[in-house]
Amino acid sequence: MTTELVASVPPTSRGFWGRLPVLKQLRQSVGLQRGMLVAGLVIVAIFVLVAIFAPVIAPYGFAQLRDAQGPFGAQQPPSAAHIMGTTVGGYDVYSRVIWGAQTAVLVIVIAVVFSIFAGIFLGLVSGYIGGWLDRVLVVIGDAVYAFPSLLLAIVLSIVISGGQSSLWGGIFAAALSITVVYIPQYYRVIRAETIRIKAEPYVESAKMLGASTPRIMFRHVLRNATRTLPIIFTLNSSEAILTLAGLGFLGFGIEPTAAAEWGYDLNKALSDVTSGIWWTALFPGLAIVLSVLGITLVGESLNDLADPRLRGRKRVKAKSGTMSLTSVDAALPSDVEILEENR
C-alpha cells in the first residue's frame, strides 16, 4: 500500500501519460533496472508487432509446401529462398516462426483474459465473504495450484478437443486449458489482497458507516486489490507461452495445417537434431526463449519497482535537494513531506 502511495506522488502534477502503469514505472526506474525494463518492453513490442503483421512479414504461408518454383523440399539448410531452411515436413522454418508468434499471442490473450476475470471474481467473493465457501475454494485452488500445470493442461486439452483440431478449435482448446490451470493463481493473489484490504481501516470505516457489502466490495476493495495485476499478467503470459509450447511438444497442440506452433515444430525437430540438423530446432526454440524473456523482464522489473525494498535509486550530491519540512500543519505539505510521512 505504502509502496503505491510513494510510487504515485504526486499524480496531479503529471499528465495522463504519467499515470499509465508501465510508463510510470519506466520513469521511476534507474540504471540497470531501467535497462532490463526497456529491453523487455522492446522485445515484447517486437513480438506483438510480428504477430500482428505476420501475413506481411512471412514470405510464405505457415502450411505452404511449394511455390511457383516447385516444392520446397524437406530439411533444406538455410539458403536465400529459405533463410532458416525447411523442416522435415517441407515447411519454411522462417515463415512458421513468424506465424507462430500470432498463435502464441492469440492463445495468451484469450487465456489470460479469461483467467483474470474468473480469478478476480472468485478471489474477491471468497476473500471478502469468507466462511465455508472460502475454505472449500481455497482447498480446491491449492490442490490445482500444486499440481503440475502442464499435466492438467494435457488432460484438459484432451477433454476439450479430443487431442487436436482446427485453428480456432485448437487455439481455444489450448487457451481454455491454460485458463483453467491459471485461475487458481489469480484467485490466490486476489484473495490474499482482498483479505489484507478487508482489515484496512478504510474498509472498516466503510463498514462502520453502514455501507452495503457490494458497495464495499466494488468501491473500496476491488480497485485496490487489483493493483498488482499488471505484474501477474505479464508473468502469467510467459508461463502461458511455455505451457502452450509444452502441449505442442507433446503432440497436444494445433495441427501444422491449422496454424504454426513453435512447440509442435520442436517436437518434429527432435529426430533432426540427432542427425545434426540444427535449424529446424534452433529458430522456433529461440522464438520461445526470446518472447518469454521479454515478457518476464517486463514483469520482473514491474515487480521490483512495486517493492521499495527491491527498487534502486539514483545517487545525489551532498548538498543538493530541497529541504524536507517537518509536519507544519498550517502550510501546504510539500511532496517531500508527504513522501517522508508515507514511508
Binding site: 510510487a7 472498516e204 466503510a206 480497485r223 543538493s320 524536507s324 517537518t326 508527504i338 513522501l339
Partner: protein
C-alpha cells in the same frame, strides 16, 4: 578525560528519492562528551535519526554525506572520521567504539537464532573466541541488563521473551563490546509506558555504572526530561537550540523549542475545560427528564474464539461503564488492555459474547447488521492511522461524502459537495482540499478530514481510537484542540481511546482505566488522576514521564516506591 566521544562538524546528508534529491540534514554540528546522555529531540523529518545513524555510518546507499563525524574510542586513544572510513574500517568501529539500540525490539532481533548467538555475533566480529567463551560473555551481559536466569535464557529464541525483555537483550548486544557510545533511536517508543520507565532506568545505569555516553533520539519531551544531561533540538535538518536539560526546560530560547514544549499535554491541563463542559451540559439538559445513556455496558465480555479447539482469549472481562449524552469518556490502557476491542464492539465491528452492551438503545448481544444499520448514522468513528483510514483511490471529498450517500442524504458524491465543503471548513481545511487524494495531505490534515467524515451525519456518538498517536506532538496539540472545539459546537458524546493519560485528561469528562481486559478504575479526571485508588492506575500515572527534569526526578522516586510496595514482578 580527553575530548568528546563524537564530534560532528557541519554534517550534511541528502537522499535520492522518487521525487528527486531530498536534504535531510543541513550543516549540523554537535559534540557528545564522555559519559553523558545527549538527547536529540525533534519531530518527524527533523533529521534526528539520520544524524544519529551517520555516527555508525549506517545510512542507506541512497544517502550522500558531507562534513565530518569524528569518533573516538572509549580510551580516547584514537579518533577517526566516520564519513571517510572504508567498509572494513567501519566494521572495526561498529560495536566496539559505538553501538546502536533500535526502536522496535521485536524486529531488531533475528527470529531464527538464539539471543545468545546474536549477542555473540558482535564478539565474533571483533575477536577470535571459542563458543564457550562467547556464551559465557553473553550470559554475563544478560545478567547485567537484568534478564533473570541468564544461564537458561541465553539459549532461548526472541519470541520467548516479552517486549521489555527483548529491548533489554537489544541493549545487551549493543553493550557486549563495551563501546564508549551508544546511539539509542527512540528506544522506548514501541513500549508501554510502564515498561518504558524500566528501560529508561536501565539506560541511566549504563551511564552511571558503565560510564557509557548515550545519544538518545526521541520525540518525547518527558523521556528527555527523565534521562538527558544535555539536549539538542533539531528542526528541518538544522540544530535550533542546544542547552543542558535543566536550562532548556526552565528557559527555552528558540521559538520552536517553546512551541514544542507548549504542545506537550500535561496532566491537569484539561481540568478547566472539563468543568466548563460539565456546566454547559447541565444547562442543556436542565429541562429534560432523566438522561438516557448513549452507551451503557454492564458485565460486558468479549472473547475471541480459539482455533483448533483451543480455549478462546478473553479480551474484555466483565466491564461496566456508561457514556451520557454530550459526555466524553476517556478509555486508557496499555497494549492488550482491551480498549480498542471495546471501541470496535460499540461500532458493531466486533461481536460481544456476554453481558450487555446497549448502544443508542440497541442491545449489541443480539446484533443484526440490518437492524443496526439505521443507527450507524448516529455513530461517527475516527481511526488511529490517518494514512490507512482513507481509501487511497478516492478523493477527500468523495470519502467525506460516503456517509451522506450511504445514508441517503445525497444521491452521489457530487450532490453532497456543498455539505462536504461546510464540513471541511468546520475542521479548518480549505475547500479545495476536497479534490486531493489522501496521500496529498499531511498526517494532521488527514486526521482533520477523518474528523469531518466522522461528523458528516452529526452523530450522537463519536468513537475516536487513538486519533493522535500517529501524529507529531505539535500536530497532536492542534488536532486535540479542534476535537475539543467541535465537541463543544456539536455536543456529541464521545469515547476517546488512548494509551496516553495526559491526552485523555485533556479531553475527557470521565476517565476509565483498563488493565488486561478489566476496568480497574473509573471517575472524573480529578478523581482518577488526582487521587488514584487502584495500584495499577498509580503505577501508570507514576510511569508517565513529565517534561520537567526536577519534577520527573521526584516522580521517579514515587515510582520506585510503588514498585517496591507492589513487589516488582507483580505487574
Amino acid at each position: 578525560m580527553s575530548g568528546p566521544v563524537v564530534d560532528i562538524r557541519d554534517l550534511s546528508i541528502s537522499f535520492a528519492t522518487d521525487a528527486g534529491a531530498v536534504k535531510a540534514v543541513d550543516g549540523v554540528s554537535l559534540q557528545v562528551n564522555r559519559g553523558e546522555v545527549l538527547a536529540i529531540v525533534g519531530e518527524s523529518g527533523s533529521g534526528k535519526t539520520v544524524t544519529a545513524k551517520s555516527i555508525l555510518g549506517l545510512l542507506p546507499e541512497t544517502a550522500t554525506t558531507g562534513g565530518a563525524v569524528l569518533l573516538s574510542n572509549r580510551a580516547g586513544t584514537s579518533t577517526s572520521d566516520v564519513v571517510t572510513l572504508s567498509g572494513k574500517e567501519l566494521r572495526g568501529i561498529r560495536g566496539s567504539d559505538v553501538s546502536m539500540v533500535f526502536q522496535e525490539p521485536s524486529t531488531a532481533l533475528n527470529p531464527v537464532y538464539t539471543v545468545g548467538w546474536q549477542i555473540a555475533e558482535g564478539l565474533r566480529a571483533h575477536r577470535k573466541l571459542s563458543a564457550g567463551e562467547a556464551k559465557r560473555e553473553a550470559v554475563e551481559i544478560l545478567r547485567k541488563v537484568g534478564i533473570p536466569d541468564p544461564e537458561t535464557r541465553v539459549n532461548h529464541y526472541p519470541h520467548q521473551f516479552s517486549g521489555g525483555q527483548k529491548q533489554r537483550i537489544v541493549i545487551a548486544s549493543a553493550l557486549v563490546l563495551n563501546p564508549g557510545l551508544i546511539v539509542a533511536d527512540e528506544p522506548t517508543t514501541a513500549l508501554d509506558v510502564t515498561v518504558q520507565a524500566e528501560i529508561l532506568d536501565l539506560l541511566r545505569r549504563l551511564r552511571d555504572e558503565f560510564d557509557t555516553a548515550i545519544v538518545l533520539i526521541t520525540h518525547n519531551m518527558g523521556v528527555v526530561a527523565d534521562l538527558a544531561d544535555r539536549v539538542v533540538v533539531m528542526y528541518q535538518g538544522t540544530v535550533v537550540e542546544e542547552a543542558d536539560a535543566t536550562t532548556l526546560f526552565a528557559s527555552p530560547q528558540a521559538d520552536y523549542t517553546k512551541k514544542l514544549l507548549d504542545a506537550v499535554p500535561r496532566i491537569g491541563q484539561g481540568r478547566a475545560h472539563t468543568e466548563e463542559r460539565a456546566r454547559l451540559r447541565a444547562e442543556r439538559t436542565a429541562g429534560a427528564a432523566a438522561e438516557v445513556a448513549v452507551v451503557e455496558a454492564s458485565g460486558l465480555v468479549i472473547e475471541y474464539p480459539g482455533r483448533f479447539g483451543r480455549k478462546g482469549f478473553r479480551a474484555v472481562d466483565e466491564v461496566s461503564f456508561a457514556i451520557r449524552p454530550g459526555e466524553v469518556l476517556g478509555l486508557v490502557g496499555e497494549s492488550g488492555s482491551g480498549k480498542t476491542t471495546i471501541g470496535r464492539a460499540i461500532g458493531g465491528l466486533t461481536r460481544i459474547t456476554g453481558g450487555s452492551l446497549r448502544v443508542l438503545g440497541f442491545e449489541m448481544l443480539d446484533f443484526s447488521e440490518r437492524r443496526f444499520k439505521p443507527l450507524r448514522a448516529d455513530i461517527g468513528f475516527v481511526f488511529q492511522d490517518p494514512a490507512a483510514s482513507f481509501n487511497p483511490l478516492l478523493t477527500i471529498a468523495d470519502a467525506v461524502a460516503e456517509p451522506l450517500v450511504i445514508h441517503g442524504r445525497a444521491k452521489n458524491p457530487a450532490a453532497a459537495r456543498k455539505r462536504v465543503d461546510e464540513l471541511l471548513e468546520a475542521v479548518q481545511l480549505p475547500k479545495s482540499y476536497g479534490d486531493r487524494f489522501p496521500h496529498e495531505l499531511s498526517g494532521g490534515q488527514r486526521q482533520r478530514a477523518s474528523l469531518a467524515r466522522g461528523l458528516a451525519l452529526e452523530p450522537k456518538l463519536l468513537i475516536a481510537d487513538e486519533p493522535t498517536s500517529a501524529l507529531d506532538v505539535s500536530v497532536q496539540a492542534r488536532v486535540l484542540e479542534l476535537f475539543a472545539e467541535l465537541q463543544l459546537e456539536f455536543g456529541f458524546a464521545a469515547l476517546f481511546i488512548s494509551h496516553d493519560l495526559a491526552v485523555v485528561d485533556l479531553l475527557a469528562d470521565r476517565i476509565a482505566v483498563l488493565y488486561r481486559g478489566e476496568l480497574v478504575e473509573e471517575g472524573t479526571g480529578a478523581e482518577v488522576l488526582g487521587d488514584p485508588k487502584d495500584p495499577y492506575t498509580r503505577r501508570l500515572l507514576a510511569s508517565l514521564p513529565v517534561p520537567d527534569p526536577a519534577e520527573q526526578a521526584a516522580r521517579r522516586a514515587t515510582l520506585a516506591r510503588i514498585r517496591q510496595e507492589a513487589g516488582d514482578n507483580q505487574l
